[in-house]
Symmetry: C2
Subunit: 228 residues, 2 copies
C-alpha cells in the first residue's frame, strides 16, 4: 500500500505528522512580505536623503537601504525561523505560512535541519544587528562604517555559501529540482542576492580600507613612527 | 542478537562497513603532526625576526606564526579531509589515520557529514590561502595586512562557531561525551583555539582599521573633499 503524503515537501519520504496546510494563498503571502520590505526601503531612501551627517551618493543610499532591508529580514523573518523551527510546520500565523511557502523550495526550513537552524540563528542574532549598525554607521559618517560593512557582508556571504554548498552536496533533494518558482525563484534567485551583493560590498570595503591603511602608513612614516 | 560494531565511533549505531582500524598508535600520530606544526612555527619565528620589511613586535611575530600554522593545517590537513572524506575510514595513510584518531572526538569526520565536508572545503580553499597571504602581508608591511587578517579571522570564527553550534544542537552525539582526550582535548580544546584567537584578531583589526578610517577622514576633511 502506498502511504499518502500529507505535505508538499521534498524529499517525498519526509515525515511531518504535525504539518497543517496554509490557508493564505501565495499572492497574499508574497505581496504582504515584499510590500513591507518595500516600505523599509522607501523610508530608508527618504531618510538617507535628509538625515546623513555628510551627503551620501545615490549608490551609497541604495546600500544603506540594503542594510535596513537585511536588518529587517534577518531579525524578524530569520529570527522567527530560528526560534519556531520545530513547530512551524503546524503553525498558521503569517510568518509560519510564509516559511511553509518558502519551504517548497527548501524543506530544510520545515524539517529543522541542523545546519539550517544554526546558520539562521547566527544570521538573526549577529547579522541582523550588524546590518542596522552598518546603516547607522554610514548615516553618522562613523569611522566604523566600512569595517561594519565588511563584517556584515562576510558573515552573509559565508552563511549563504554554505547554504548553497550543503544543498548541492546533498544533490538538491530538499525541493522540486528546476521548478520555476520554488527552485529558480525562491531557492536560487532570492539566495543569490546574498551572494552577489555581499561580495560586491566586501570588495568595496577591502579596497576602501586598504586605501585608508596606505594613508595611515604614509602619515606614520612621515612622522617617522613605528605604527604597523 | 546484538550486532558487533566494527569501529570506535559515536553514535554506536553508525554504519561504517569500509572502516579499517589504525595500525599507527596515537603517540606517533600526534607527535609527528604537532612536530610538523612546531617546525612551521619555529621557522616562521626565525624568518619574522629577519625578513620583515619593518621590524615586527614580538606579539606580531607570534601572530604571523599563527597564520602560517593555520595555512598549513587548513590546506594540507583540512584539504585532505575535504577531498578524501568519503573513503578516509578505510585508508591507512598518515593523514587518514590522523583523521580516524580525531574522529573519536567527532565522527562527522568519518561519516562525511554534509555540513562538516562543506565547511572544511571552504576552510581549505579560502581560509588556507588567506592565512598564507596574511602572513606575507605583515612581512611585506602591505596596506592589505589588517583587512586580510580580518577576512581570515572572520571566516575561521564563523566556520568554527557553526561547527560547535551544530554539535550542540544535535546533543553531542558524535563523540564520547566528556571523555578527557576525545571530547575535552580534541573536540573542545583544539577547536576553541579557532574561536578565541580569531576573535582577538578580529577585535585587533576592527580597532586598527577604524583608526585608519578616522585618520583618512580627517585628512579628507582637511582637504575639504567629499570622500566618504
Amino acid at each position: 500500500m502506498v502511504e499518502k503524503v500529507n505535505h508538499p515537501y521534498y524529499p517525498r519520504s519526509l515525515k511531518l505528522p504535525h504539518f497543517k496546510a496554509n490557508d493564505k494563498d501565495i499572492t497574499e503571502l508574497l505581496s504582504v512580505f515584499f510590500s513591507i520590505v518595500g516600505i523599509f526601503i522607501v523610508v530608508t531612501w527618504l531618510v538617507t536623503g535628509r538625515a546623513a551627517r555628510k551627503p551620501l551618493s545615490l549608490t551609497r543610499r541604495l546600500v544603506v537601504c540594503w542594510f535596513v532591508a537585511c536588518g529587517f529580514i534577518h531579525t524578524v523573518l530569520e529570527g522567527y525561523f530560528g526560534y519556531f523551527h520545530a513547530t512551524l510546520a503546524g503553525q498558521m500565523d503569517f510568518l509560519a505560512q510564509l516559511w511553509k511557502e518558502y519551504g517548497k523550495g527548501d524543506s530544510r526550513y520545515i524539517s529543522s535541519d541542523t545546519f539550517t537552524v544554526c546558520m539562521e540563528r547566527i544570521t538573526a542574532i549577529i547579522d541582523g544587528p550588524l546590518a542596522f549598525l552598518s546603516a547607522w554607521a554610514f548615516l553618522a559618517n562613523s569611522k566604523h562604517r566600512y569595517v561594519l560593512q565588511l563584517l556584515l557582508s562576510l558573515c552573509q556571504l559565508y552563511g549563504d555559501s554554505l547554504y548553497f554548498l550543503t544543498a548541492i552536496f546533498e544533490g538538491f533533494i530538499h525541493g522540486e529540482y528546476l521548478h520555476p518558482l520554488y527552485f529558480w525563484f525562491y531557492f536560487v534567485f532570492l539566495n543569490s542576492l546574498w551572494i552577489i551583493i555581499p561580495l560586491l560590498l566586501i570588495i568595496d570595503s577591502y579596497r576602501h580600507l586598504s586605501r585608508c591603511q596606505a594613508v595611515f602608513d604614509s602619515n606614520a612614516s612621515g612622522k617617522n613612527k613605528k605604527l604597523h
